[in-house]
């Protein structure tokens, strides 16, 4: 089995179980959620890690290239609360432009 299909199947099965765990165990009853401080910090931590590795890493080497321009555009767009599609298109266009000019 390829890496791709292995990931698809394993991630699919585990996500289905993860999503279904509480509704199956609770059986229509209320569950006390409890402290979720760590869980609420997982998403920002992982997003930040994914961003920097996507922008500044290439084959285990840290680099600064056209992708950094796209990141700056995305940060500015989010800060100014631009529509998500506009942010995506702008970041892609600026990265492509920087790459062709450099």
């Amino acid at each position: 089995m390829s890496r791709g299909w292995g990931t698809v199947i394993l991630l699919g099965v585990l996500t289905i179980l993860l999503k279904g765990a509480a509704p199956i165990l609770a059986g229509g009853r209320q569950i006390h959620v409890g402290p979720t401080a760590v869980l609420s910090h997982l998403a920002p931590a992982l997003f930040a890690a994914l961003i920097v590795t996507q922008v500044f890493a290439r084959d285990r080497v840290l680099v600064v290239d056209a992708r950094a321009a796209g990141l700056i555009v995305a940060l500015l767009g989010s800060w100014r609360r631009a529509p998500p599609l506009a942010i995506l298109v702008s970041a892609v266009a600026v990265t492509a432009a920087f790459r062709h000019l450099s």
Partner: protein
């Protein structure tokens, strides 16, 4: 887990299905764009179009799917790809706990409804004061689910025809998408600290560890951020 009380059953309101679907339509446009991008990037990362579509159908969580193919594209193993994606999906546990009282019927029915829980549908289903509408979840979730799968298929087909994504600047789409997803989370100092610490950990480990490991290790930052609350 502490069981508190049984929520009384309510009559099924068919119009709430349509309300959920109607409320999801504007969001579906964004989900469609993200799904198309995912299908495209997944095929350029080595997945077959069918594998990309199956991932959207079984995982149905955009950020986790992007995390998985990001790790795969950088040469990471199946386990690091799945591990980083599951950490991303960990939020579904408390979300599932909150919405559980709205689910009735057999274990299979509850499992099926639970698969429609994504951030947007969960938000639409929320009625306030801790109550959720199963009908709204189903209406909105189905619209988003069908959109996600169809757009993934469209992107996967495009991926076979457009060639190298870097030439189009599409390698910047992933981080831009993650910035969009990250921004609403930066509402207090402890989350900003967690994000900055995670970025530092990931960059520090990138040159010295296997692909995917920096992402998993960066999750430690969540525990540091969480302890600051």
């Amino acid at each position: 887990m502490q069981l508190l009380h049984q929520q009384p059953s309510r009559p099924r309101d068919v119009s709430e299905y349509w309300n959920g679907a109607r409320l999801a339509l504007p969001i579906a446009a964004v989900i469609g764009a993200i799904g198309t991008l995912f299908g495209y990037m997944a095929t350029t990362a080595g997945l077959t179009p069918l594998a990309a579509i199956v991932m959207s159908g079984t995982t149905f969580a955009g950020s986790a799917q992007f995390a998985a193919i990001t790790v795969l594209a950088s040469g990471g193993s199946v386990y690091t790809a799945v591990g980083s994606s599951l950490l991303m999906n960990a939020r579904f546990v408390p979300m599932g706990m909150a919405i559980s009282p709205a689910f009735r019927g057999s274990i299979w029915k509850r499992l099926l409804f639970a698969q429609l829980v994504v951030d947007e549908a969960w938000g639409i289903a929320y009625l306030g004061e801790g109550r959720f509408s199963k009908e709204r979840l189903a209406g909105s979730g189905l619209v988003l689910y069908v959109t996600h799968i169809c757009s993934t298929g469209l992107g996967a087909v495009l991926g076979k025809t457009l060639g190298n994504p870097a030439e189009w600047g599409l390698d910047a789409a992933f981080p831009a998408l993650f910035v969009i997803l990250l921004w609403p989370h930066l509402r207090n100092a402890s989350r900003i600290v967690a994000a900055l610490l995670a970025a530092t950990i990931a960059l520090t480990l990138t040159p010295v560890t296997s692909p995917g490991i920096p992402i998993l290790a960066a999750a430690v930052a969540a525990f540091v951020g969480g302890q600051r609350l």
